[in-house]
Amino acid sequence: MATLALRGLHKRFTGTVALDAIDVEVGSGEFFTLLGPSGCGKTTLLRTVAGFVRQDAGEVWIDGACVDPLSPDRRDTAMVFQDYAIFPHMTVGENVGFGLRTRGVARAEIARRVREALATVRLSGYESRMPHALSGGQQQRVGLARAMVVRPKVLLMDEPLSNLDAKLRVELREDIRDIQRSLGITTLYVTHDQEEALVVSDRICIMQGGRIEQVGAAWDVYKAPATRFVAGFVGSTNFIEHLPPAELETAVPDGQPLLRAVTAGSGGEALVAVRPEDVRLLPAQARPADMVVVRAVLEKVTFTGREALYLARVAGGPTLTVSEARPTREGLVEVGASVGLGLPLGALLYFDRATGARIGLG
């Protein structure tokens, strides 16, 4: 168990900035996830920690020591690869024992720890199988066992689940979480799947264009996104550029910040955002006091089983997505119906139009 600190990391590849002023502190035993779209620099950051990418500036500290002078084989990190990287010419047992052999562990000890590790990933008795006989999910379990059996200071995982099918992905991510927690290994995890990140992580670091947008627990990044990018990337969000005053039907007094923001249009300072599940679908006449109400026409209804998704168009304004959890057959609203969209004041987020940073309006 060890801490991991990244200080002022910069990396340029020809023409593009891959890492830009990255500062991160990961606590001992923490499950820390790098989340972002492809090309955001998250894999580069992970490979910098492993030593496969050499930063142009900045330092990597593991367990209180700077590891920059150390080559990748001496950093005591263990990596789980996106394409498994299981050695095809070795048995499962030899694969899992590989890191122990390079560390000069005694044979009997290797056998014991390999057996234990395979039991942990629920592959007991697979020691002498060859990898090609295993399914993708089993191969990645071998990859996980091979990495954790050396008890590395930091466990690195590079999109370990992205080559697996949906059902397996959910199953294995639970395993990864449970194993990581029971062993207490400091873990740096890379993914582009926001749901995966929310489920497994202690803290999530959202990256874009080589920069960190926000670091925080799942609840924070979802409920209190620091930037417009985070709000759009984690979960889905309605961004409201402008609401025509004529369509507003509200009991909220004039001078309320939302009204100022949205009626000012692109000339105003703030962009308003609201999550689909926070928007309320109201009967035409309802006027709750804590909401701004907008008139809209339903354009599309999608039933996904768990929820109903409505697309509602505001005349001369945006089309908003509204999600209704646990819809009832009687409650489903028909396409073409006129509705009121309730935007609860407490659920609204405001972002600076220029910088994208979240701001409070008062």
Binding site: A50, E59, P72, D76, F81, F87, R146, V150, L156
Partner: protein, 552 residues
């Protein structure tokens, strides 16, 4: 702050340096000497264009240039005419004995190059049994000597390149494309002409280019079958070795013209396939038709006729080796006389051939694998430059490189002429690019993450290479080594220039024996080569996953 690079003895930088040194010494330096000699006056050493005026202006040399183009283009056309139909038959129809057809094609490809010339002389020469047989049937054939005979041998020798490459490409054409063509109304010949052939054009033209360049460069066949039909390779050789005053300046100029023609051909093929390399998603394998009735007879007949005739020389050679001879004449009865004679008279040739080839293969595979690794896994400016330099041997005929070696290593600082080493080295540098290229393609199939995983788990880079990458490369490397051995032991065109009495090899001895009319000796030695080649090919077929891929 800037992080200093980890200081560590870098094996791969050392490999790059070694590779540049080797390529510089054994390739660039000899070719530079040839190039320079072509611009120098033999007597005065002054800079001159006289050699070029002579070679390009004098009818004697113009004839050689035209003849070279005739047999180059003719060999190419013959190879395509045999290779493409055979490929289409095998790839698109349920042909019986497909493995047999492929194996026979491979065997005629790798068999010693001049065996064809020799065998066809014993079949269709003035006393040939086949000529006599056909003459009895009232069929008089033109002489085997001259351009027709050369083209016959080249066509049957080089068609497997076109065949193997085209079959590979045809197997990668997505079935939906041909079905779409039929669905839109193009069937049969129209479908073939409008869709299928254009899709495999890059492969066909690559095979055609190989056939052209190799026909142009070949020395043994035109030398044995030419009889006054002079081409550039034989002309360069004669100019250099002529007993009454060799002419290195003119020999060099002829060599440069030869290289220039090859380069033009390479550029033309590149231009032809530019924008025609199609990425294909092979979601559905192409359809394979069942054969019935007449169609079945025609297709099977065509396939077996082509591979049968191209295998005929090997059969004839083996048979001849067991016939009794008296001097140049075959006599009735079978026996082991020729082998006894070979073992008592020319054991050197056999020993030399195996020793030189083995040494060359060890060098080729050792350095080729390491260079291949650098090119595949450590790309950079230096690696790119090395890659480009390694293209050179593809367009430099063996005779030319042999001449370059003689000119470059016949005195201090490096005196190698007359040694076995010079023959080993010329084979080594000629074969090195093939080994590098095959290592690169082997490595492309081994994901780089495997090695990273090993390093990440604590293995040093060299240990990761040895424990993970090398074992995975081994089958491919072994196949490559066997192929290198086959070409090494069959090498004639460079060793004919570099050999001396003590370093004679089997191909050289066979060549001399054919010229002297010792057909029994030639047949016995050729059989030894054939059997060796066959064993090597069998090993390749055993260890490599893609049967055809290893040979082209």
């Amino acid at each position: 702050m800037t992080v200093p690079r980890v200081a560590r003895l870098d094996l791969w930088r050392g490999v790059l340096l070694l590779a540049f040194a080797v390529v510089g010494l054994l390739l660039v330096y000899p070719l530079y000497n040839i190039f320079a000699a072509s611009f120098l006056d033999n007597e005065t050493g002054a800079l001159t264009l006289a050699n070029y005026r002579r070679v390009l202006g004098h009818p004697y040399y113009q004839t050689a240039i035209v003849n070279s183009l005739v047999i180059g283009l003719g060999g190419m056309v013959a190879a395509v005419a045999l290779g493409v139909p055979l490929a289409y038959c095998v790839a698109r129809h349920k042909v019986r004995g497909r493995a047999v057809i492929t194996t026979l094609a491979i065997l005629s490809l790798v068999s010693p190059p001049f065996i064809g010339a020799y065998a066809w002389i014993t079949m269709l020469g003035s006393n040939g049994w086949l000529r006599g047989f056909l003459s009895d049937l009232g069929l008089e054939l033109p002489s085997i000597y001259g351009p027709l005979g050369i083209l016959l041998v080249f066509g049957l020798k080089f068609y497997p390149f076109v065949f193997l490459l085209t079959v590979g490409a045809l197997n990668l054409v997505n079935a939906s494309l041909e079905e779409a063509a039929e669905n839109l109304g193009a069937t049969g010949w129209r479908k073939l002409r409008m869709v299928t052939l254009p899709l495999v054009l890059p492969a066909v033209s690559a095979g055609a280019l190989l056939a052209f360049v190799l026909s142009l460069a070949d020395f043994g066949t035109p030398s044995i079958l030419g009889r006054g039909y002079r081409v550039l390779s034989t002309t360069a050789y004669n100019l250099y070795t002529s007993e009454i005053g060799g002419n290195p300046g003119l020999a060099s100029t002829a060599s440069i013209v030869l290289i220039a023609i090859s380069l033009v051909a390479v550029a033309a093929q590149k231009r032809l396939v530019a924008r025609r390399e199609y990425a294909s998603a092979l979601t559905r394998r192409p359809a394979v038709r069942s054969l019935e009735g007449v169609r079945s007879w025609v297709v099977h007949g065509l396939c077996y006729l082509i591979v049968g005739v191209s295998s005929l020389p090997s059969v004839v050679v083996v048979y001849n080796s067991f016939r009794n001879t008296s001097g140049p004449v075959f006599k009735p009865g079978l026996g082991l006389d020729s082998y006894r004679k070979v073992i008592s008279d020319v054991p050197d040739a056999i020993v030399n051939s195996f020793a030189f080839s083995s040494a060359a293969v060890v060098l080729v595979v050792g350095l080729g694998t390491l260079i291949g690794y650098v090119l595949a896994r450590r790309p950079g400016i230096a690696a790119g430059a090395l890659d480009a330099l390694l293209m050179i041997p593809y367009v430099v005929p063996g005779v030319v490189l042999g001449l370059g070696f003689v000119v470059s290593f016949n005195g201090p600082p490096i005196e190698l002429v007359g040694t076995g080493a010079i023959i080993v080295l010329v084979i080594f540098i000629r074969r090195l690019p093939y080994s590098v290229r095959s290592s690169v393609s082997i490595l492309r199939q081994i994901r780089a993450s495997l090695e990273e995983a090993a390093i990440n788990l604590g293995a040093s880079p060299s240990r990761a290479f040895v424990k993970v990458t090398l074992p995975l490369m081994l089958p491919g490397v072994l196949a490559g080594a066997m192929m290198a051995f086959v070409t090494a032991i069959n090498e004639l065109s460079s060793s004919i220039i570099l050999y001396v009495g003590g370093t004679v090899t089997m191909p050289v001895r066979i060549y001399l024996a054919v010229l002297d009319g010792e057909f029994g000796t030639a047949a016995a030695l050729s059989t030894v080569l054939l059997v060796t080649t066959g064993v090597a090919v069998a090993i390749v077929l055993r260890v490599s996953e893609s049967r055809e891929g290893s040979f082209v």
